[in-house]
C-alpha cells in the first residue's frame, strides 16, 4: 500500500526513510542524478566563467594589470580544463540526458541505475582531483587544456595530478555513454519503432557512441603523459626515439570528436524545441537523424586539421582538409531542416525558441569560421591566433552552452513544475547575445590581424578591440547572472507549469511536472509521432 502511494509522489518529494543528503547523493533515480549533475556542472560553469572574466580583465590593457604571466598561463589552462572536461562535455548528456532520455523513451530509469550513480561519483572524484591539483605540488597546470608534449612532460606545475583528474572524468563519460546505448536498445518499448524516437534521444544515442569509442584513446594518451612525467618513459620524446606529433594525433583523435560530443546533444535539444514552437512536425526527420549519424562518423575522421602547421605531411593536410569540408554538409543539413521547420509554422517566440534561434545563428557563424580554419591555406594565416579562440567559443559556447541554456528553459518547468518569468528570460538572452558577439567577434578580427592566442601581453594597436572584448565579457556575465536568478526564482516561486507548458508531443510531456518517481505506471504505449501536435493545445496559443 505504501509502495503504491510512493509511485505517485514526484521525484523531488522528501524520502522519509533516508536522510536528506543520502536521498540525493546515493539515489539511483535518473532524475535525481540529473539534478546532481546540474548542481555540479552549474557550479563549475560559474567558476570557469569567473576565471574567464579575470583573463579578460587582465587583457583590458597591455602589460600586467592584475596578475603575472605565470598566473595568466594557469588561468587559461584551468579555464579550459574546467569548461571542456567538467562543463561542456558532460553538460547536456549528463544533466538532460539523465533527466529526460528515459522518460522520452518510455522507461522507468536508465538500464544500469547503479552504474549511473557511479558515473556521477567518478565525475565528482575526477573534479576533486583536478581541483586538488591546483593547490598542491608545483601549482596549477600551465600547459593549456591540450596538455601538449613536450611542455606538459617538462613543466614543474602540477600537471600529473590534473591529467589524472581528466583521466577519471573520461571514465565517468564512458560509463554514461555505455549506459545510454544499453538503455535505448533494451528499454525502448517494443511498440515504439526506431524511426519514432524523439530527435533528442537520437542525438544522445550517437553522442554516446562517440563517447564509448574515442574516450579510451584520450585515457591512454593521458596515461602516457603521466608515465613520461613519473618514470621518464619517453614514447613522445624525440631523444628517446619518440614522436611528439603522435601525441597530437592521439589527443585530437579524441578531442576533435569531443567537439561533436558537445554539439550533437545541443543539436538534439534544438531539434526538439523548434517543432514544438512552430507547431509543425520536424522537417526531414530522417535527414536529421541521418545527419547526426554522419556527423558522428565523419567528425571522427577530421582530427588532424588541428595540426596543419605542426609539421604533418602535405598529403595528410589535403586529406584532412577535405574530410573537414565533408563534415560541414550534415551540419548544414540540420540548420536547413530547422529553418524549414519554422517555415510557415505557427510560431510562438517563447524563451526556449529564442534560445534555439540564438543557437542556430551563433552555431552557423561558428561553423562557417570552421571552414576558414579547415582550408589549409587560410589556416596557415590564422592558426594559433585569436581567430581560433573566437571560433571555438562560437561553436562550444554559442553552440553547446547556448543549447544547454535552451534546454534549461525548455525542460526546467518539467523538472521543477514551475515557470520562470518570460520577459526576464528574453532580456537575459539579449544581454548574453550582445555580450557574446562583442566578446568573441572582436577576437575574430584581432586574430586575422595577427593577435596570437595565449599571450599575456599585446601590442598597443590591439587595445581598442581588446577593451571592446572585455566589456563584452561583462555584458555576457550580466546576462548569465540575470538568467540564473530568473531560473532560480522561477524554480521556487514561479507559476505552476502544468504537465505540458509548451504543448510538446514527446512522452515527457505526458507525465506530471515534476515527474513521478517511477515515471510511468506500466509501459507507456506511444499513440503519436514525437512531432505530431494534432489535438495538443499549446497553452500560449490562447
Amino acid at each position: 500500500m505504501t509502495m503504491e502511494s510512493n509511485h505517485h509522489l514526484n521525484f523531488l518529494a522528501p524520502q522519509p526513510d533516508r536522510s536528506w543528503l543520502g536521498s540525493w547523493i546515493f539515489s539511483t533515480d535518473h532524475k535525481r542524478i540529473g539534478i546532481l549533475y546540474l548542481v555540479a556542472i552549474s557550479t563549475f560553469f560559474l567558476v570557469g566563467l569567473c576565471l574567464g572574466l579575470l583573463m579578460r580583465l587582465e587583457l583590458i590593457a597591455p602589460g600586467g594589470i592584475i596578475m603575472g604571466p605565470q598566473t595568466y598561463n594557469a588561468l587559461f589552462t584551468v579555464h579550459g580544463v574546467i569548461m571542456i572536461f567538467l562543463v561542456v562535455i558532460p553538460s547536456i548528456p549528463a544533466v538532460f540526458g539523465n533527466m529526460i532520455l528515459p522518460i522520452q523513451l518510455g522507461a522507468k530509469d536508465v538500464f544500469f541505475p547503479r552504474l549511473n550513480l557511479l558515473s556521477w561519483w567518478l565525475y565528482m572524484f575526477g573534479a576533486g582531483v583536478a581541483v586538488i591539483s591546483l593547490f598542491t605540488g608545483g601549482g596549477p597546470p600551465d600547459t593549456g587544456w591540450t596538455f601538449y608534449v613536450p611542455f606538459s612532460t617538462m613543466t614543474k606545475s602540477n600537471t600529473t595530478l590534473s591529467v589524472f583528474g581528466v583521466f577519471i572524468l573520461g571514465f565517468s563519460g564512458i560509463l554514461t555513454g555505455l549506459n545510454f546505448i544499453t538503455t535505448v536498445h533494451r528499454l525502448k518499448p517494443s511498440t515504439t519503432p526506431w524511426m519514432k524516437l524523439p530527435l533528442f534521444t537520437w542525438s544522445l544515442y550517437f553522442t554516446a557512441w562517440i563517447q564509448v569509442l574515442v574516450t579510451p584513446i584520450l585515457a591512454i594518451t593521458l596515461l602516457l603523459i603521466i608515465l613520461e612525467r613519473v618514470i621518464g618513459l619517453g614514447l613522445f620524446d624525440p631523444t628517446k626515439g619518440g614522436d611528439p606529433l603522435l601525441y597530437q594525433h592521439l589527443f585530437w583523435i579524441y578531442s576533435h570528436p569531443a567537439v561533436y560530443i558537445m554539439i550533437l546533444p545541443a543539436m538534439g535539444v534544438i531539434s526538439e524545441i523548434v517543432p514544438v514552437f512552430a507547431r509543425k512536425p520536424a522537417f526531414g526527420y530522417r535527414a536529421i537523424v541521418f545527419s547526426g549519424f554522419v556527423i558522428a562518423t565523419a567528425g571522427s575522421m577530421v582530427w588532424a586539421h588541428h595540426m596543419f602547421v605542426a609539421g604533418i605531411s602535405d598529403t595528410a593536410v589535403m586529406v584532412f582538409s577535405f574530410l573537414t569540408f565533408v563534415v560541414a554538409i550534415p551540419s548544414a543539413i540540420k540548420v536547413f531542416n530547422w529553418t524549414a521547420t519554422l517555415y510557415k509554422g505557427s510560431i510562438y517566440l517563447g524563451p526556449p525558441l529564442l534560445y534555439a534561434l540564438a543557437f542556430i545563428f551563433l552555431f552557423s557563424l561558428g561553423g562557417l569560421q570552421g571552414l576558414i580554419l579547415g582550408s589549409a591555406g587560410t589556416d596557415m594565416h590564422v592558426h594559433d591566433t585569436y581567430f581560433v579562440v573566437g571560433h571555438f567559443h562560437y561553436v562550444v559556447f554559442g553552440g553547446a552552452i547556448f543549447g544547454f541554456f535552451a534546454a534549461l528553459h525548455y525542460w526546467l518547468p518539467k523538472m521543477f513544475g514551475r515557470l520562470y518569468n518570460y520577459e526576464w528570460a528574453t532580456a537575459a538572452l539579449f544581454l548574453k547575445f550582445i555580450g557574446f558577439n562583442l566578446l568573441y567577434f572582436t577576437m575574430l578580427i584581432m586574430g586575422v590581424q595577427g593577435m596570437p592566442r595565449r599571450y599575456y601581453d599585446y601590442l598597443p594597436e590591439f587595445q581598442n578591440l581588446q577593451v571592446i572584448s572585455t566589456v563584452g565579457s561583462w555584458i555576457l556575465a550580466a546576462g548569465i547572472i540575470m538568467m540564473v536568478i530568473n531560473l532560480f526564482y522561477g524554480m521556487r516561486y514561479g507559476e505552476k507549469a502544468g504537465d505540458n507548458p509548451w504543448g510538446g508531443a514527446t512522452l515527457e510531456w505526458t507525465v506530471s511536472s515534476p515527474p513521478p518517481a517511477e515515471n510511468f505506471e506500466g509501459e507507456p504505449v506511444l499513440t503519436r509521432s514525437p512531432y505530431d501536435f494534432k489535438d495538443i493545445k499549446a497553452p500560449h496559443a490562447e
Binding site: L213, L245, I253, S300, S313, T315, A316, F320
Partner: protein
Amino acid sequence: MTDNLNKSYMSYVFIWIILLCLTALTVFCSTLQLGHPAIWIALTIATIKGSLVLLFFMHLKDEQSFIKYAFLVALIVLAIFIGLTFFDVLYR
C-alpha cells in the same frame, strides 16, 4: 544431460587444441626467414586465433546481430584511426 554437458565441454576443448596448433604454427613461421611478409602472416594467424576466441569462447556467434555489427564498427573505427594517421607518417 551429462552427455550434452560432455559434448559442449569437448567442443570447447577442440577449439582450444586448434588455438594451440595455431600458436605452434605462428612460432614455427617466425623461424623461417620469410622477410617482409612475416609480420602479415603472423597477424593473419593472430586474427584467426582471435576470431576463434571471439566466436566460440565469447559466444559472439550466438549473440544478437547488433553486437556483432557493433564489434565490427569498433574494429573499423580503430582501423580508420590507424589508417588516417598513416597519411601523415608515410608521406612526411
